[in-house]
């Protein structure tokens, strides 16, 4: 796996675990811990995304990703 993809994989897993953990805390009423953690996590994620975006614009763009999504799993939507 390319290093860039490895970094993005870590970000994806980090996002998943961040929202899962904070979600459980929020649902159980521990907002004092969950909301600052969530805010900090989202801020980190956004800064990473903005960095990624600047490199994406510089590199070869990918075409038709949205077409793939619009086709969904290639089945009934």
């Amino acid at each position: 796996m390319r290093p860039e993809l490895r970094t993005r994989e870590r970000q994806s897993w980090g996002t998943f675990l961040l929202f899962l953990g904070c979600g459980i805390l929020l649902d159980r009423g521990s907002a004092a811990v969950a909301i600052p953690t969530l805010a900090a996590g989202v801020a980190l994620l956004l800064s990473a995304l903005l960095r990624k975006e600047s490199t994406t614009e510089a590199s070869e763009p990918r075409e038709s990703d949205a077409t793939i999504l619009s086709a969904g799993a290639g089945t009934e939507q």
Partner: protein, 253 residues
């Protein structure tokens, strides 16, 4: 009266958050997005931006030899967990996992195409699993709202969700494509998932200044969703009726 003022306030906040999120995503420039598939609610840029998150997951699945069917069954199992979470009132976690199950549905299709394992049998299995996965979320919400009138709204949304898929499947069975409609599957997932998450988040943020309940915002989102889903089903039915009518006209003459 105060309940409606609270709901109006919550709705205004939700709209604001959605507008900010949409405008932020619109700043991302991805070539090809302008011509790629989009809808009224989820533009091509947002779709392309979101799919870029799933690339590494897809890559890892290829490396590990994960099959698309395995991902479909994982989606089904996670949807059952979502139903349990909704039923027990864990709306934020349930909403988040609902978005994850929607993402798995995208990854399994991409994986099938990439590994050249796409087949009619796999597509059929995926469609059946998708219908169960769709239904589980609404069933969970119906259980959660079992003591209020929102139970009927959740059931109305469930019926609409199944009808949206059925009208297209039936139309395609009659040889008529049907890719129209306001709320397709990704939009339904996004609205319900983020609706649940924002509902809990806003409640925690605004309490005790605004006496919201966990499901105050969700009740508004679910009501809107139920209406829009059924509008979509009717849109599709009318579209197919007209298109099939056009095909029948030459025979009549």
């Amino acid at each position: 009266m105060t309940v409606w003022v609270d709901r109006f306030l919550a709705l205004a906040l939700l709209t604001f958050v959605l507008l900010v999120a949409t405008r932020s995503a619109a700043r991302f420039h991805i070539q090809g997005a302008a011509t790629a598939g989009s809808s009224a609610l989820l533009g091509a840029r947002i779709r392309a931006w979101y799919v870029s998150f799933l690339d590494p997951i897809e890559e890892r699945c290829v490396q590990l030899g994960v099959t698309p069917s395995f991902l479909s069954f994982t989606q089904l199992a996670l949807s059952a967990v979502v139903a349990l979470l909704f039923a027990t009132g864990m709306l934020f976690t349930g909403g988040w996992l609902l978005l994850v199950t929607g993402s798995l549905d995208i990854v399994d299709g991409r994986l099938a195409r990439r590994t050249d394992s796409a087949s009619p049998r796999g597509a059929f299995l995926d469609s059946v699993i998708d219908r169960y996965a769709d239904s589980f979320g609404y069933i969970g919400l119906a259980v959660y709202f079992r003591d209020s009138a929102l139970l009927w709204i959740a059931l109305f949304a469930l019926v609409g969700s199944l009808l949206v898929s059925y009208t297209r499947a039936r139309a395609e069975g009659l040889g008529q494509s049907c890719k129209v409609g306001l709320l397709q599957r990704p939009e339904r997932y996004v609205l319900l998932g983020f609706g649940c998450m924002l509902s809990v988040l806003l409640t925690r943020l605004l309490q005790p200044a605004v006496p919201l309940e966990d499901a105050s915002v969700l009740s508004v989102v679910l009501s809107a969703l139920a209406v829009l889903i059924n509008v979509t089903a009717i849109q599709r039915a009318v579209y197919v009726w007209r298109e099939l009518g056009k095909k029948e006209e030459p025979h009549a003459a």
